[in-house]
Amino acid sequence: MSALSHLGGAPPAAGPPAAAEPERRTGRRRLTAYLLLLPGGLWLVLFFVVPLVTLLSASLYDPSGSVETGYTVTWHWQNYVDALRDYARPFGRSFVYALVATAICLLLGYPLAYAIAFKAGRWKNLMLALVIAPFFTSFLIRTLSWKLLLGDNGFVVDVLQALRILGPDGRLLATTAAVVTGLTYNFLPFMVLPLYASLERIDHRLIEAGGDLFAGPFTTFRTVTLPLSMPGVVAGTLLTFIPAAGDYINAQLLGTPKQRMIGNDIQSLFAAGVYPTAAALSVTLMAAIVVLVLFYVRRTGTEDLV
């Protein structure tokens, strides 16, 4: 029972009624909790849980149906076999792209989060605001800007060609590099913010102790700072990997059909009304992510993410 309800309770008195009083109040407070949870919980049950169940049943529809004639659930597990056979490549691509983008996000995001937490001083709030600020320009518009930046006559290609990293006919737009750049860019703030939150919490005295014990800056980082920031690393990589694996906007705007990700296929199958296959692919994506996340969280040993 919280301190608030202790104080709000009836003044202590002798006799049996006093013993009954806290019991009744606990019951009332528990009821209050459920009442507070009810509207939001109901919304989530109706529009998150029930839809997932519907999606599951849609993935077992008889594939010979259509939107016009209606579908029936026939426990057609073959949908999964067919979907996985036909869409193995975009699936693999999604996971590889998301993995690479997550790794780059970690490499770029860690120094930024570290600088904000330990080096920014009075500019801390400003730098944090700068990390969040790009969010406010619609992310579709920002992705379109990358199309311009990475374009054949764009600044980035010119520089890379001058440095001979890219051949004279080399291009960036419509390549895997462009799609991964876009994914990295779009989900970088999701990496930086949890990293910052966990770095910020580290007791500075622990880092100073590392120096006092004659550890070099690198050893101190490796044995003190990095392990203490692991919860942030886990949260950040998950928050980057999950949306990146399901994304189709970067592949569509910056890539070609050769870079198609599983999101592209799910979206276009739903748009075409091919529900059983689309639903089977969605369920598989969700299941794959859940399995990966559980495995990853178990391995890294940080169970309290929330």
Binding site: W43, P51, A129, A133, P134, F139, G246, Y248
Partner: protein, 268 residues
Amino acid sequence: MTRFGRWIGSHLVLFVAFGVLLYLFAPIFVVVLMSFNEPKSRLAYQFDGFTLDNWLHPCQPFGLCESVSTSLRVGLLATAVATVLGTLMAFAMVRHRYRGRSASNLFIFLPMASPEIVLGASLLALFVSAGAGGQLGFWTIFIAHVMFCLSFVVVTVKARLSGMDLRLEQAAMDLYANEWQTFWRITFPQVFPGILAAALLSFSLSFDDFIITNLNAGRTVTFPMYVWGSAQRDIPPQINVIGTAMFLLAVLLVLGAELARRRRRVRA
């Protein structure tokens, strides 16, 4: 190590950080620049010349301002509902003991850990199987947006609530304030910044959402959907005007909040 080498060493992380910030801002510069673009050809997306026309006539492309207004209406309504429902849930989860408390924590986390395409697809499956496939539009978008904003509101308000000093409330009660007075005079003003942050976050999530909305919008067009549609044909520079304006608005809000905070601190 030389002195110069050591200076580089201790500032290296700052240089990298500035580089990454530059990376984050590169597209913003393009958006601002392109908002002044006077396109010569409808085929190439590039800067052709400077003009103020786009800023003077932002509503010129057909349907653009209607889509912005749809997004604003959905965003405000979904934010209002999600903020109220989410705040109630956060209070229950931080301030109350009840059976299934840790289960409810996990339950709140799940929508945030699901890929958007799965959230959107499952809602579409629900709407279609409920026979509402023909009625996709404003209200189905609204339902979807409240759903995915809720978790973010709960998490944000919870963070604020669990960092609060309970002794202030105890003090109020000691001074004979009743529960109602304590809540409105002490608790609520302290939680309010958290609620405000949650509302801002949820509005920006709603205004920016594309993947879930695109599956459940029917014929209704939100601003991101308008951008998507125009990316397949030609991109009117007015889109960048809206993008720049949103960005400036957000920057002004942040600066205003920071200034207010500093002024309060000076006075205190």
